[in-house]
Amino acid sequence: MSIATSEPLSQSADPATASRSEEYLWTLNFGPQHPATHTTLRLVLKLEGERVVDAMPEMGYLHSGFEKIGEHLSFNQYVTVTDRMNYISPMANNVAWHHAVEKLLGIELTPRCVYIRTIVAELARISDHLLCNGAVGLDTGAFTFFLYAFQQREMIYDIFETLCGARFTNSYTRVGGLSQDITPLVVEKIRAFLKTFPKTLADMERLLTRNRIFVDRTKGVGVLSKADATARGATGPIARASGVTRDLRKDEPYLAYNDFEFDVPCATAGDCYARYLVRMDEMRESLRILSQAVENIPAGPVDVGIDQRIARPDKKQVYSTIEGTISHFELSMSNRGFEVPCEESYAAIEAPNGELGFYLVGDGNETAYRARCRPPSVLHFALFPHLIRGHTLSDIVAVLGSLNIIAAELDR
């Protein structure tokens, strides 16, 4: 067994003592049903007293065959399944899925659609970080913080419910457009949220950021170096807390991110505390993007034009224009539908959790031949043994919480 700790575990210079200390190692099973794993993660730990010598993560307790379903559902149907993938920010998954599909089909979105998608993606980012940081707080003993965070999530649920009718599993995007347009009421609700949320965010910071117990439990725990972060495939806030500045919103601008002024928060410490801080700051940057986007939503149609035969025309067009009728029928008929190239492409977005991409193989059908999802959680969960070695048992919940592993995205 290789032990890579910052401090020496024991005085095991000679092999005889080392083998003796092996005998005292405890094996502890953690999960798959445990309050601090939140979902269905399992760890098999090797303990020396309270110190974790090694950890063996195991996954698959929620493997539901998402990628197999992706080969049987059409591009528009599969969006419902992506909702259930990273279920604390379903909107971001919707956006990621149709971003990839539109890349494969080569569709150019309308400016209004691009803006609305940016807005919902940023709202999803806020709701994800709220839950993640709330859960870190909950696990390290700050229940009030969690309730504050969840209250704000309910506000975002409200916005989504007004927007698309579902508070949680939204299935909002469609190929070449959205299921419905944004309404003035939604814009009003987002404006209200933009006004009230900074206050709560400040309250939350006051509750936890300088809280002695929280800082002691997270600072210096689970340190990930910059080189390790890239080599081990970390992306998103976890990589940025370790000093990697990569952010697809800046590096490969998609949607409307080129139009907005925002910063990418980074830290260098790479510990749980830095990850918490990066997430808090990202919420603030998301607010900045939102406030710019909400005020500048371009006018015009949401879906691509009916001449492209991609998005289903609305009822008015179907009943009153011949193009609308033809387009509606063609999209509904099983032997027509989209023109899908026999090609393969990969497209990713900066999801709240990291780089979330889909590798799609088209074979001319409306259904993907292969819909591979690039899940950030898998690579982050693989980091776990590396981060926890040498720390104590009670640090496990802090590290797990700060990695923000979502089982449904992990196992798919």
């Binding site: 065959g65 080569g106 495939g233 990569r246 393969e344 492409s345 990969y346 031949y369 898998v378 690579l379």
Partner: protein, 178 residues
């Protein structure tokens, strides 16, 4: 796969930084290359995959984004059964490259990338689990998501969506037993 005519409007952005690809092309002349929607793909034969990937790693591709596999059993015009897909990225120049490698039954085998990118560890285990691709040199090639006692590789095209009844194969607990 033949070289595609370069029609994509996003071509120019991909052309800005392809130093990594140029280095590979210089070392391995005659590789099948194609560009689709601004994404450059290279097909590398399985025999020279290890060497090519080492070259790419040295050329600055420090992030292995994804390792996945496609089963081309029912794909029109496919010549090989499995296609491994390696998505590489350079975090400094933002260059991306897709490396594909075709292998066939009965023993689909490719070299493991764990020595170059530790992130390949679980991704390759997943490919082994769901497709049955063997990765030689992998430190710990076990099933990742399916139970250990599972025998099939469920993402292969000849495995049915509903499975072969494994999901019903459990004891039933009644009220009286509990």
């Amino acid at each position: 796969m033949s070289v595609e005519p370069e029609t994509s409007p996003e071509m120019s952005t991909a052309e800005v930084c392809d130093a990594g690809y140029q280095a590979l092309a210089a070392a391995f002349p005659g590789l099948e290359t194609s560009v689709f929607r601004g994404q450059r793909r290279v097909v590398v034969p399985a025999a020279s995959l290890a060497e090519a990937m080492r070259q790419l790693h040295q050329a600055g591709f420090d992030l292995l984004v994804d390792v996945s596999c496609v089963d081309y059993l029912e794909y029109r015009g496919a010549t090989s059964r499995y296609g491994l897909v390696y998505l590489l990225a350079n975090t400094r120049t933002n260059e991306r490259l897709t490396v594909r490698c075709f292998v066939d039954d009965p023993e689909p085998t490719v070299p493991s990338m764990v020595p170059l990118w530790p992130s390949a560890n679980w991704l390759e285990r997943e490919a082994w689990d769901l497709f049955g691709i063997r990765f030689t040199g992998h430190p710990d090639l076990r099933r990742l998501v399916m139970p250990e006692e599972f025998t099939a590789h469920p993402l292969r095209k000849d495995y049915p969506l509903q499975g072969r009844g494994e999901r019903h194969n459990f004891p039933v607990i009644s009220r009286e037993q509990s």
